[in-house]
């Protein structure tokens, strides 16, 4: 699994017509080379979403982003509009406001041919109207089993902290539970999430869903430890992480220990230097781990062989 890189530093030229973007989902399987013809930005990069576990709500970014097509771009030259030639039999399309208008039936029929009956409640082609019921999983009601099984996607959940929080309203105190959960497989993927609900279990579930949405990869060496020392802060929590020799185990307190254990790191030292707020410390360790670099990455960026780094 690729390590996430920090976002692209903003564009090769400040006066370019469109600034570079963080890569997004692509429509096409291959990156388009067309846009190198224009002096404008290419908006789509192909993303290798190698984890089928991740929901469609999270984006994975390719680790080496190809920006070689910017080499030909000259931002100061004027953009010209040179459309291809008009074909001889080109008929200008009808404007959308002009008659003849289609009847409702024809429209419904056309839509149904394309998308199926979906949620319209009527069919002209004789298809099943309740087709969407089977596709959408029923989460509430008597159809489902009640609560879903806890073990899914191969991720382990570990509850760091559950607190009862109060909101004072006119009628009294409105109690809710806030759960901080760390989710990870022990192979280098972790995520931290928070969830609040009126019951502990639903709060934990919400937190687990949230954690699955922001998962990061931990750069680990062969001996299941970090490549180098790192510090990071989030809020008032400041965390220092240090690699250790094999056989040391994870020596850290509270939230930091849970995050490192869930990541699968075997040998590390960690210290909470600032506040000891569990959620902020968990987030700070995640940040610290995100900004770590592997030796191979650094060597590649600097263009020197790895042996130089150890001198």
């Amino acid at each position: 699994m690729a390590t996430t890189t920090p976002p692209l530093s903003s564009s090769t030229s400040s006066s370019s017509s469109l600034a570079t973007h963080l890569p997004r989902f692509s429509l096409f399987p291959n990156p388009t080379t067309l846009l190198s013809l224009y002096s404008s930005k290419p908006p789509f990069f192909s993303l290798s979403s190698s984890r089928s576990l991740q929901t469609h709500l999270s984006c994975t970014k390719k680790d080496d982003i190809d920006i070689t097509f910017f080499d030909e771009v000259n931002p100061d030259e004027d953009i010209t509009f040179s459309p291809p030639e008009k074909p001889e039999d080109f008929i200008p399309p009808r404007a959308i406001d002009e008659p003849p208008f289609e009847s409702d039936e024809e429209i419904a029929q056309a839509y149904e041919e394309l998308y199926g009956p979906a949620y319209s409640g009527e069919t002209y082609l004789g298809k099943d109207i309740y087709v969407m019921d089977s596709k959408v999983k029923k989460t509430t009601g008597f159809g489902s089993k009640g609560k879903k099984e806890k073990i899914r996607d191969g991720f382990d959940e570990n509850v760091v902290q559950v607190r009862r929080v109060t909101k004072v309203v006119k009628g009294g105190k409105h109690m809710r539970f806030r759960a901080v959960v760390v989710v990870g497989d022990k192979k280098g993927q972790v995520g931290v999430g928070v969830g609040k609900a009126k019951e502990v279990i639903s709060a934990v579930q919400k937190a687990a869903t949230d954690a699955r949405r922001n998962i990061i990869t931990v750069p680990m060496t062969k001996y299941l430890t970090f490549p180098h020392r790192n510090e990071a802060d989030y809020g008032a929590a400041r965390v220092m992480l240090r690699p250790a020799a094999p056989g040391t185990g994870v020596i850290a307190g509270g939230a930091v220990r849970t995050v490192l254990e869930m990541a699968g790191v075997e040998n590390a030292l960690g210290k909470q230097l600032g506040s000891n707020n569990a959620l902020n410390n968990a987030r700070a360790t995640v940040l610290a781990v995100q900004t770590m670099k592997q030796f191979s990455e650094v060597a590649r960026e600097r263009g020197i062989p790895m042996e130089e780094l150890w001198k």
């Binding site: 017509s17 429509l27 469609h56 709500l57 953009i79 509009f81 459309p83 008009k86 839509y111 409640g121």
Partner: protein, 236 residues
């Protein structure tokens, strides 16, 4: 991605008033590459760039629809609502022309629940069960049905998240744009001089106030979608 001829001529755009921007005081300085002049307190957009971006957007949309992707057109301004609906129906796309409910895409599971309810209410209305209920209940259900019809009428054929979203006015539909960005859905947006061109994936600098200019751009995009779809039907 092949470039095709989309019948974009600058005279037509000038007639529709695509080149007018908003007042000088309300501009977003990030739009300076696309603004060509300032006239009587209004910024004038550079039409060559507009034409370029429009043709690029049309190419993209043509390519996507020839692969069978789903589109969503969002436009909630009162002026534009009608043309958005017509354009989407012509292109057989989903559309939102009344208020964009927050979380329509990011909270898709809840939107699906509402769509289920919409479909069930329609079924009941067609089966005639509404008339058998007492008058007050029937009125309540009818009102719910009409609400759902106005807000969700355009997306009732949508089975999942769309693949491309076309937004008519960026300032108005800022929530919709934000949702697409968090979900990673590519967007095509009509940008005026007070909008930020870096948010959308393809931003077409154009006038979003005049109905004629919105109509023109939507016509071109819809034409591209139709062409792509016919080529998809011919060879899937």
């Amino acid at each position: 991605m092949t470039r095709r001829y989309w019948n974009i001529n600058l005279e037509e755009m000038m007639e529709a008033g695509v080149h007018f921007g908003h007042g000088t005081r309300k501009w977003n300085p990030r739009m300076s590459p696309y603004i060509s002049a300032k006239c009587k307190g209004i910024h004038i957009l550079n039409l060559t760039r507009t034409a370029r971006f429009l043709s690029e957007a049309c190419d993209l949309v043509f390519d996507a629809s020839s692969r069978g992707k789903q589109f969503l057109i969002v436009g909630t301004k009162n002026k534009a609502a009608d043309s958005v609906a017509r354009a989407a129906i012509r292109a057989r796309c989903h559309y939102v022309n009344k208020k964009w409910l927050g979380g329509m895409l990011t909270n898709w599971s809840t939107t699906e629940t509402r769509l289920h309810k919409f479909r069930d209410l329609r079924m009941e209305q067609k089966a005639g069960r509404l008339t058998r209920l007492p008058k007050r209940d029937a009125a309540v259900l009818k009102r719910q049905l009409s609400h759902l019809q106005t807000y969700l009428g355009g997306i009732k054929y949508m089975t999942g998240l769309p693949d491309i979203v076309i937004i008519v006015d960026q300032q108005e539909e800022y929530t919709a744009l934000r949702e697409c960005i968090t979900l990673g859905i590519p967007t095509i947006c009509l940008i005026d001089t007070n909008c930020d061109p870096d948010l959308a994936d393809i931003s077409i600098p154009a006038n979003d106030d005049a109905i004629a200019s919105i109509r023109l751009i939507l016509t071109k995009l819809v034409f591209a979608i139709c062409e792509g779809r016919s080529s998809y039907i011919r060879n899937p």
